[in-house]
């Protein structure tokens, strides 16, 4: 979210480059059933407007060019009356959406590219403590993801796709992958057969993907008095999570004795249960459950600009080759002066910029990126 250090000059600059983008990119090809969606947006003063609707994409673009919001959202739900209050919208179903964020991977490289910005004075601090500059403000963190982050999140994204295609049987044509515009990926599943699922059913899917709630009994280990017995399930251990766990344990339908020894080596039923928990977390994907479970949520609109970075929520056709710093960097090339608040190196549109904390002339897309991240201010220098 744009924070306090964004002066009127910064906001005016961002509004101008955002407006130019929306004026030149009027298609929103991945926005379906526009008339059935609820829209919302965040203004530059952080105020969020919700419960609005548009008859077509043209109306939406006109609104974006006129008001130039910081962030634009639309509902995963389809409504009969999308602009009505939430209980009177006539819910008709919702796309199933998954969100993976680099932050949730807890990567060891995070500290190398995380900055802590003071909420009060905007100073960039080295640690998440009280601001060393003003001694008053608490800090919020911002990050410039590195190559390692991108490789790791793509690996998780691939795991998620395997769950969707191989286990849940969702056809590839119903899955669209988007870079979130900042530090994650969104997976939109618009399979009509799952649109009517309620939030309990979606929570069940979330737990499946995360690896939450797998029981020892599902792999054939049952609690018995103070110990345990082995009884492999009749429906087998060759599919779904059972298969993953069986493969991790190196067992098959005939390995009752081997399984017994594994459980004993883990310290009995409870010990084995703890081992299973670790195993399932490792094999699962750390999606944001609340995003998936919510059937009335508004999500960032594909093709819109993310106010946290100035990058767009871009469609990702080939996950492996996708480079967000190229393919999602869509703002203008025209040059402006910025005052970076810290030394940093970034690569956008295949150009690498090494910035000191002194006045620099950079393309608008770099300036927007840094201002949105709270790492620079626009300068009036000519």
């Amino acid at each position: 979210m744009i924070q306090v250090q964004n002066t009127e000059e910064n906001i005016n600059f961002l509004r101008n480059v955002f407006r130019k983008y929306y004026f030149e990119n009027k298609d929103f090809p991945y926005l379906y059933s526009v008339e059935k969606r609820e829209f919302g947006y965040r203004k530059f003063d952080s105020l969020v407007i919700r419960h609005i609707s548009f008859k077509n994409t043209g109306e939406l673009v006109a609104e974006l060019v006129r008001n130039v919001p910081l962030d634009v959202y639309y509902s995963n739900a389809y409504y009969g009356l999308p602009s009505n209050p939430i209980n009177e919208k006539q819910w008709e179903g919702a796309d199933l959406i998954f969100d993976i964020d680099i932050k949730d991977l807890n990567l060891p490289c995070a500290h190398e590219h995380t900055y802590y910005i003071c909420n009060t004075c905007g100073h960039v601090n080295p640690e998440p403590k009280l601001c060393v500059n003003c001694n008053k403000g608490k800090t919020y963190d911002t990050s410039i993801p590195c190559k390692k982050c991108l490789t790791s999140i793509k690996k998780e994204a691939q795991k998620l796709l395997d769950f969707l295609y191989c286990d849940l049987g969702i056809k590839e044509k119903f899955v669209e992958i988007f870079f979130s515009g900042n530090a994650g990926f969104h997976f939109h599943v618009n399979d009509p057969s799952i649109r009517s699922l309620d939030s309990y059913s979606r929570a069940n899917v979330t737990d499946y993907i995360i690896g939450n709630g797998f029981m020892c009994e599902s792999i054939g280990v049952r609690k018995y008095r103070n110990g345990f017995v082995i009884k492999l399930p009749k429906s087998g251990i060759v599919t779904g999570w059972r298969k993953k766990i069986a493969s991790n344990l190196g067992i098959n339908q005939k390995s009752e004795l081997k399984l017994k020894k594994i459980v004993e080596a883990s310290g009995g039923y409870e010990g084995f249960r703890n081992e299973l928990k670790k195993m399932t977390r490792k094999n699962g994907v750390p999606i944001d459950g609340q995003v998936t479970n919510d059937i009335h949520r508004v999500f960032r609109l594909p093709g819109s600009i993310n106010g946290k970075s100035g990058l767009t929520k871009a469609k990702c056709d080939d996950l492996e080759s996708f480079n967000p710093n190229n393919e999602a960097c869509m703002l203008s090339d025209s040059e402006v002066y910025v005052n970076p608040k810290t030394k940093l190196k970034i690569t956008l549109k295949n150009n690498t910029f090494r910035l000191d904390d002194a006045l620099e002339k950079v393309p608008s897309y770099v300036a927007a990126y840094l201002i949105c991240k709270g790492l620079a201010s626009i300068s009036n220098a000519q």
Binding site: N204, Y208, G213, S235, T239, G240
Partner: protein, 338 residues
């Protein structure tokens, strides 16, 4: 080749379309229940009903015609007794009776075609669930969305998708599991048939039997258990600690805390007071949200406390030993007031 269910099979499932057709075809008139030769049907229905009220599944099985009539009289008796608890209990035990027959039929049936037909009759015709029988393993399979729509309402962890055999968009279930999947719906189906029955005049023979049963059982169902909470569950304690420290509580935890407090009888004002220490406290917004959860605003539906399963998913569960076997935080530390 056309395969049909025989009358011996249909006798076990008197709620199917065929049963209504049978009554319709024989042009049976309700007044006929007043004839002396029908008394054994009424007595049989009463015997079944009493067995169910005692908590037993009535397992006697007679000929198709007798079963269809008994089922119809049972519904009339329950309707005529007019006690909600009797309707609920008998619906559940009738469902369990069907469950028992269906499990046996599906387990013993060797013909895949006949098994498919039975599954189709019960699951597709009544509940619109498309279940197929795998030709090689004879195990039942249904699509993930169909499964989720049923299983997500069940509290036992074994029904979570992660604990199921899942492949290529299908969930594979053995016979017992397939039948258990519809237990609640079957019970609800029978219950709704009782509720929706519109009878101008109940035959006197049935009415007098119903009066007799009402007198016998009404005393048992006049009270409702009342409980008081002796201790908050750990998830609620944790949320309260965060609030009391003046730290920010995630939306899902606020929802849990507010619904819990309302469920144990706190007033809207009490609940608003709890949130006063939140860093972003705004009385107007808090009041609106709490009143909404209490069913006093918006849809006028009182929101339930999220289940333990849900709280685990949202990382809001801090279970202790006493939480074992609980399915909802509301059950924690609850003692019956005698």
């Amino acid at each position: 080749m056309s395969i049909k269910l025989g009358s011996s099979e249909l006798a076990k499932y008197p709620f199917l379309q065929e049963a209504s057709e049978y009554i319709h075809e024989t042009k049976f008139d309700f007044e006929e229940f007043n004839r002396p030769e029908m008394i054994h049907i009424i007595n049989r229905a009463a015997e079944k009903l009493e067995s169910e009220l005692k908590g037993n599944v009535y397992s006697n099985l007679d000929e198709y015609e007798i079963e269809v009539m008994t089922f119809m009289v049972s519904l009339l008796l329950i309707k005529s007794i007019g006690l909600e608890e009797v309707s609920r209990k008998c619906s559940l035990f009738e469902a369990m009776r069907v469950e028992k027959f269906l499990t046996t039929d599906l387990s013993n049936e060797r013909s895949i075609e006949k098994k498919r037909l039975l599954v189709q009759k019960i699951f597709l015709e009544l509940f619109k669930i498309n279940i197929d029988v795998d030709s090689t393993s004879s195990i039942c399979k249904l699509s993930v969305p169909d499964y989720l729509q049923r299983a997500s309402k069940m509290n036992e962890q074994e029904w979570k998708l992660i604990n199921r055999s899942v492949k290529d968009g299908y969930v594979y279930l053995d016979t017992d599991e397939t039948v258990r999947l519809i237990r609640n719906e079957l019970s609800n189906l029978i219950y709704s048939r009782i509720k929706n029955m519109k009878i101008v005049e109940i035959p006197i023979s049935i009415k007098s039997k119903a009066d007799e049963l009402r007198t016998k059982y009404s005393g048992r169902y006049v009270y409702r258990n009342q409980f008081k909470i002796l201790e908050y569950p750990p998830c609620i304690k944790h949320a309260m600690e965060i609030i009391n420290k003046g730290e920010n509580l995630p939306h899902s935890a606020r929802f849990m805390l507010a619904t819990y407090m309302l469920a144990i009888g706190k007033t809207v004002e009490d609940v608003i007071d709890i949130f006063k220490n939140s860093p972003d406290y705004n009385e107007k917004i808090t009041r609106y949200q709490v009143e909404h959860l209490a069913g006093k605003k918006g849809s006028h539906i009182k929101y339930s406390v999220p289940s333990c399963d849900r709280l685990r998913s949202e990382d809001l569960c801090f279970a202790v030993k006493e939480c074992e076997n609980l399915i909802n935080p509301i059950q924690f530390g609850r003692r019956k007031i005698i």
